[in-house]
Subunit: 417 residues, 4 copies
C-alpha cells in the first residue's frame, strides 16, 4: 500500500483520482484554492439557485476528464508518449482557469485584461506555482503557456484544452447541468471519449461517433439558450458591470471613500496590477465591496449595490435594439423617475454559438481514412447557425404599474422596434 492515491468524491464524475503527489501539490496551491471563492457561473445563481459551484470544482473535473481521455488515448493510440507530455496535459487541464477573476468577464470591464492572460502570468510569475512547475523542468511552465498560446509545439494538448471538443466543455456542460438541476447538458461522456481518434497528431472524431457528438453539441446549444444566456442572468451581469463602472468613476473623481483595500489597484487608471494583487481578490472581495457600497453616500451606487445583494434585478426586455429616438425617450423616462440613465438602462447583444464551423470545426475521421467536418456529417449540427439576441434592461418600476411613465415606457419598448 505504498503508492500515492487521493480519491475525491465528486457529484459529476463520482470520483476524481489523483495518483501523482505533484498534481496534489498543484491543487493545494494558493492560486488554485482561490478558485473556491469564485463561482463557476458568475451571477447565474440568481436565476438557478443551485448554480453555486466554484471554478475550483470545475477545474478538478476538467483534470479528471483529461485523465480519462489520456488513459483512453494511451491505450488506443499510444499517446502521450512520455510522462512529461502526460503531466503537461494534466497540468494544463487543471490550471486552464486559474486566472479567472470574480464575476469573470464582467470584471474585465473594470480592468480589461483577459483571464487567459492572468492564467499565463500566474504560471510564470506566482512564486509558489512557478516553483512547483519548475520541479519538472525549466521549460515546463513556458510550455504550458505555449499551449495556451497555441504555439503549435504541443498541438494535441492544445486541441484537448481549447477546441470545440475539449475537456473544459465536457466537464462544464455536465457540471452546470447537474447543479442548475436541468437535464439539458447531458451527453454520453464515456462514449464521446471513446469516439476520439488521433491522426497525424490531431484530435478527430471517429465517424461512428457523429451521433454522440451531436448530443454533445446540442447539450451546448441548450445550455446556452436555457441557462448561460438566460435574460435574468445577463441582467445580473449588466448590473454588476454598472456597479463597478459607477464605483470606478466615483473613485477616480475622489468621491468614494468606501473602497476595499484589495480592489484599489484595479481602479487606478493605467495601473499595472501585479499577479499578487490579482490573486488577492475573489468574489468575497466584491461581495464585501457591494455590502460597503450599499450604504455609501452616492445614491446611484448604493441603490445599484443594494439591488444586486437583494436580488431586485433589472428587468430584461427581449426586443430589437432601440433607435436613437427610442433611447432618448427611455432616458427621459428614466430621469423622470429619478434613475440615472447611464447606470439603469442598458442593452446587451448575446451570441448563441453552439458550433462554429468556419476554420475550427470538429474534424471527422471516416473509417476509410478520409476526413470531413462535423457539420458536413450532421444536418442537426448544420442547423445550429450562430444567432444573436438583443435584450434591453431597465428597472422593473419603469415598466410595471399604472403610472404615466410606465405607460410611456411600455409604449416605447413593446412597439415594433
Amino acid at each position: 500500500m505504498s503508492f500515492f492515491q487521493k480519491v475525491l468524491k465528486d457529484p459529476v464524475h463520482d470520483e476524481i483520482v489523483v495518483d501523482d503527489p505533484w498534481i496534489w501539490r498543484i491543487i493545494n496551491t494558493s492560486a488554485m484554492q482561490r478558485l473556491r471563492r469564485i463561482r463557476q457561473l458568475g451571477t447565474s445563481y440568481l436565476t438557478f439557485h443551485g448554480a453555486e459551484h466554484s471554478r475550483f470544482t470545475h477545474s478538478l473535473g476538467v483534470y479528471e476528464t483529461m485523465r480519462r481521455v489520456l488513459s483512453y488515448l494511451e491505450k488506443e493510440f499510444g499517446w502521450p508518449r512520455d510522462d512529461r507530455e502526460r503531466k503537461l496535459a494534466l497540468a494544463a487541464a487543471l490550471l486552464h482557469d486559474v486566472g479567472h477573476g470574480p464575476f469573470s468577464h464582467t470584471f474585465e470591464t473594470v480592468y480589461p485584461v483577459h483571464h487567459e492572460e492572468w492564467t499565463k502570468r500566474i504560471m510564470l510569475e506566482d512564486d509558489e506555482m512557478a516553483t512547483l512547475l519548475a520541479e519538472i523542468d525549466d521549460e515546463f511552465g513556458p510550455d504550458l503557456v505555449g499551449i495556451l498560446n497555441k504555439n503549435g509545439k504541443h498541438r494535441t494538448i492544445e486541441q484537448l484544452i481549447t477546441s470545440q471538443l475539449d475537456v473544459d466543455r465536457m466537464d462544464y456542460l455536465l457540471r452546470d447541468a447537474m447543479n442548475t438541476g436541468v437535464n439539458y447538458g447531458r451527453f454520453e461522456l464515456g462514449r464521446l471519449i471513446r469516439s476520439l481518434a488521433l491522426a497525424d497528431g490531431s484530435i478527430m472524431l471517429k465517424a461512428s461517433g457523429v451521433h454522440t457528438a451531436e448530443q454533445y453539441i446540442l447539450a451546448r446549444y441548450f445550455m446556452y439558450t436555457q441557462v448561460y444566456l438566460h435574460p435574468v442572468t445577463i441582467g445580473s451581469d449588466v448590473l454588476v458591470g454598472n456597479i463597478l463602472r459607477r464605483a470606478g468613476e466615483l473613485w477616480s473623481a475622489g468621491k468614494l471613500q468606501d473602497m476595499p483595500h484589495f480592489l484599489k489597484a484595479f481602479f487606478v487608471e493605467q495601473s499595472t496590477v501585479s499577479v499578487k494583487d490579482y490573486l488577492a481578490i475573489d468574489e468575497s472581495t466584491l461581495l464585501y465591496a457591494f455590502r460597503m457600497w450599499a450604504s455609501t453616500d452616492d445614491v446611484v451606487l448604493s441603490d445599484l449595490a443594494e439591488r444586486f445583494l437583494n436580488r431586485r434585478l433589472l428587468a430584461p426586455i427581449v426586443r430589437a435594439e432601440p433607435t436613437s429616438e427610442e433611447w432618448a425617450a427611455l432616458r427621459t423616462s428614466a430621469r423622470a423617475m429619478g434613475f440615472h440613465p447611464e447606470y439603469y438602462i442598458s442593452g446587451r447583444t448575446s451570441e448563441i454559438s453552439a458550433y462554429v464551423y468556419r476554420g475550427s470545426g470538429i474534424p471527422v475521421l471516416r473509417q476509410d481514412g478520409s476526413k470531413s467536418e462535423l457539420s458536413m456529417e450532421s444536418r442537426i449540427v448544420r442547423s445550429l447557425i450562430p444567432d444573436t439576441e438583443y435584450r434591453l434592461f431597465l428597472p422593473k418600476e419603469m415598466v410595471e404599474g399604472d403610472h404615466a411613465v410606465a405607460e410611456r415606457v411600455r409604449s416605447i419598448i413593446y412597439q415594433e422596434g
Copy 2:
C-alpha cells in the same frame, strides 16, 4: 393562465413550486437572499469540494418538502384545516434557518447568540420581514416565533419543523449527499412522507413505515460519521474558531487595525448587536476579513488566516483526550517550533447522535391504534447509541518529518492516552 406559479429547477427535488405570491415575496426578502452568501455545510467544502451549496438552496428545499408533506397530510388527514395554518407551516419551513450566520456554530464562539435566537428576532424586528408577515395578520409573526419556541400552540407544525422526523433533516440529508457526491444520505423521501400519520395532533410514523424510517435514520448516521464530523472539517472549524478568537483578543487589546467595518460590533464586549448589524454580515465578510488578516502584523493571526485560505489545515489525530502532562509536553513542543499553543493545539469532542430515544424519540402508530417508539420497533435504530469521538488538532509540521520535536510529539500522541 391567470394563476400565480413559479417553478424553480432544483438539483434535489427537480422542481420547487411556489404557488403563492406572498411566499415568493418572502423568498425575495433581503434576509432570505443573504442566505445565498452562507454555505450550508460551513467549512465542509474544504473536505468535500462539492459542498458549496448555500443555506438559501436548503431553505427552498425545506419549503418544498413541507409543501409535499402538507399536500399528503391534507389529503389523508384533513390537516392543515385552513389556509393560515398552511401558510404558518410553509413560512416556518422557509424561514427556519434565516438566522444562521457565517460558519454558523463556530461564529457563535465569537458572539454567543444561537442562530435560532436570530431567526426569531429577524421575524419580529427586521422591517421588511415583519411587514410581510403582518400582511397575514398581526399574530402571524409571533405565532412563527411560538413555533420555534415550541410553545405548543401549533404542535403539529412544531414537530414538522423540529423533531427527529422533520422537513429540515429530510432536505439536508438528500441535498448534502448530492453535493458532496456520496451515496450515504439517500432515503425514500416520497415513501417516508407517506409513512407519516397524524393522531391527536401529533405527527407519528405508521408501523408499516419502520423500514423506511430506518433508512432515513441511517442516512443521518452515515452523514454524521462520514461527512459532517469528518476530522478534516472539524479541524477547519477549529481553525476558524482560533482565528476569530485571536482577532477578537487583538482587537480588544487595541492591537488590530484591520477589522472590516461590519464585524466591529461583534467584537465589542457585552455589546448588543442589532438585527440590522447581524444581517449585514455573511461569509464574504469573514472571507474578506481573513484576507485582510492574512497580511496583518500579528504573526499568529496572519499565519492562521493564511492557513485557512490556502487550505493548510490543522492535522487531526484521533485518540483519547491528552492528560495534563501530555498537554504540557505538547505545548512545550509547539513553543519549540514557534507555534503559540493556545491557537495551534486544540482538542474537540464530537458527538455522533443519529437517534435520540429519551423523551423525544419518533412515535410509531401501530395498525391496531396502539403506540410505540421507533427504537422499540427497530433493532438497527436501537443499535445507534449516541457516541463521542475525541480529536486533537495541531500543525502537520509538528507531527511529520525527521526533526526531534516531531519525534517527541509522535511519541506523545501515538502512545496509549
Copy 3:
C-alpha cells in the same frame, strides 16, 4: 385513512399513483397482465442487454404521465371538466397498448392485423375488460374505441394519446433510455408538461416551451438513430420474421409437426382469430416455439431458430439496395454455402422520422394568442427531415473468412451499389 391509494415504485417516475379502485381493477385484468410477457422493445435486448422491460411497465408509465398531465391541465385550464372525461383519458392511456402481440410489428407479418385493431377489439370483446368498462356506462368502451379511431368526439384526449406530443412517447423515451442505459432519451418531463396549453380544445405547445420541446424531439431523434433502428436489432427482427415465414410455409404444406397449440390459429390461411385466441399468445409462446423449432427436422427452420436463441444473428451491411444483378449473385453465393437465399438474405429500409410537420406538426401557441407550428419556430426541428437507410442482412459466414465465396460476397456488397 379510508381513501383508496396504491403507490407502485417505478424506476422512471419514482412512483405511480393509482387512486381509483376501478383503475386498479383494469390493471389487474388478464389482458393487461399479459403485457408483462411482451417486451416493450421487441428484440432490442439482443443489442442493448438492459432492454428487458415489458409493455406492462410502459403502460403503467403512460398512465402515470397522463395522470400528471391531467392534474396540470385541470389546475391551469379547468380540463377535464368531469370525472368521466378524466377516466376516459386515464383508461385510454393505460390501455393504448393492450393489443400488442409478441415481437409486435414482426408478428404482423404472419397474421396481418395491426395491434391497434386488437386494442379496440379487446376493449369491446374481451368479457372481463368489456364488463369493467361498462361499469362506468354503456358508452364508455365505445368511446375509448372512438378515441383510438380519432372520431373527434374527444379531441383533446385523442391528441394526448396519439400525436407528436403524446403521453405514450413521453414515457417510452424516458423508459427505454433508462433501461438501455443510454442518455439519449432524456428530456425535462415536468417542464414539457407545464409547456402544454389548451386552446379551443386543442393541445398546443406554449411558445415559451419551444426549447423544451426541441429537447424532447431530439430525444426521439437520438433514440431512433441510436437505439430503435440499430442495425443489429433490425437484423434480429428480420430473423424473427424469416423464422415465422418459414414455419408458416412448412405448416401450410403439412411439413411441420412442432407447432405450439396456441399458435395454430394464426397459421391457417384466411382464418379469423378470436380475441381469446389472440390473448392466449405472448412472447413466451414464441420463444417456446423457437425452442421446439430449433430441433425440428427442417434444416432451414431449425438453423434460423437456433440462431435467434443463441444470438448468432444476421450481419447487417449498410449500403444501397442491391441491383437485380447483385441480388442474383448474392443468392448464388448463399446457395453455394448451403443457405436458402429466401430466408438468409434480406433487405430492409428503415425510416428515421423524428418529427413530421406535414399536416400533423406540433401546434405552437404564441403569447399574443397567434398560432404557429414547431418546425416554424425551431431551426433544429426543421433540420430533422425524415430520412431512410437501407440495410442488407446475411449470415456472417458469407462475409467473413478467407474462402472464395466470402471474397466474392465482399466484392459485391462493398463496391459502390
Copy 4:
C-alpha cells in the same frame, strides 16, 4: 485501432467493458444466452413491476464488477499475478449463475438439484462451453469448478465469488434496487472496492472502510426486508411451487396430457436429467406450460395456473405458524369453499439474514496489521441478528367478504396464534 474492445451500455455500471475476445465468446455461448430468458428476481415482478431484468444482465454486471475489483487489486496489491488467474476470476464471475433454472429455487422443489450443481456440470459437460474453457488449458474448467467447490486452490477468487463481500452481491443489490425503483440497495461501489485489502491471500476489509461496508450490509438488509422477502413475492413463489407439484402428481398418475416436451424429463421420478435437457428449459417454457395448464381438465391445476398468469395471487397473512387445530379448521374452511387444502393453503418461514458472523464473517484488517471481524467493529452490523418471519398463504376469497367461511377464517388467523 487494432485492439479488441466491446463496450456494452449498462443501466447500472454505465459501461461494461469486454477487452478479451475469449470472454466475448463465453458471453455468446448458448448456455449464457439462455440466461436472458430467466428473470433475475423470479416472481418479484408481480410485486415490483420493474423487476423484469434477467440473470444475463446480472451476470454481465458481476463480470464488470470483478473486472474493476481486479484492476484495483492489481494496482494496489499486485494480484492477480498472471493472466490465467485473471481469466479464472473473470470467467468465474461471468459464469457463476449459468446453472440457474426458471424460477430458480422454486423449480428445485420439482427437480431437486441445486443450481450451483448445474453450473459446475455446464462448465464440464456442455460441449460449447467446455471447448471454450479448454482453449485456455485442460485444467481451466476443472479449476473453475474447484473455485465453486471452494477447494482452496484459488482462495482469493473463491472469496470474491462467494462470501459476504463478493462481486455477486455487489452487482445484484445495485441492479435490483435500480430496476425495482427503490433506493434501498445503494452503496458506494467504488469506495467499497477501494476498501478491499489482500493479506495472506485473503480478501479483507480495511478498517477505514467499516462505514462503507456498513452501508453495503444495510443495503442487503433493506433489500431483503423490503424487496426479496416481500410477502406478495413469497406468495407468488408458493403458488408456482404448488402448480408444479400438482402438475407433477397428475403427470405421475397419468392424468395430465398437457406437458411441454422439454419439461417431461423433469417430472419422471428418479430420472437423471442431462445438461442438454436442463439447458433446454427456461422461463418461457414454464410460462408456456402454465398457459397450457390454465385450460387443462384438472380444476385445481387450471385454476392455480390461471391465478398465476393473471396475478390473482394467494393472500399473505403474517402471523405465527398455525397450531394443528388451526390447520385442521383452515383445511375444513378451504374444502367448504371448494379449495383443495393441499394446494391452496401454505405456510412459509422466511429467513432475513443480512449478515452472518459465525465462521464466515467479513474479516477486517486494522491499520496496525491486526485482524478483526466486521460485527466486532460495527454496532449496526451486530444489531442485524438473523431473524425469521412466518407467513400463511391462502386465497383472498377465504379471508375477505361477508360470508360465514370468511368470518370463520378471519377468527382463526387473526386471533393470537
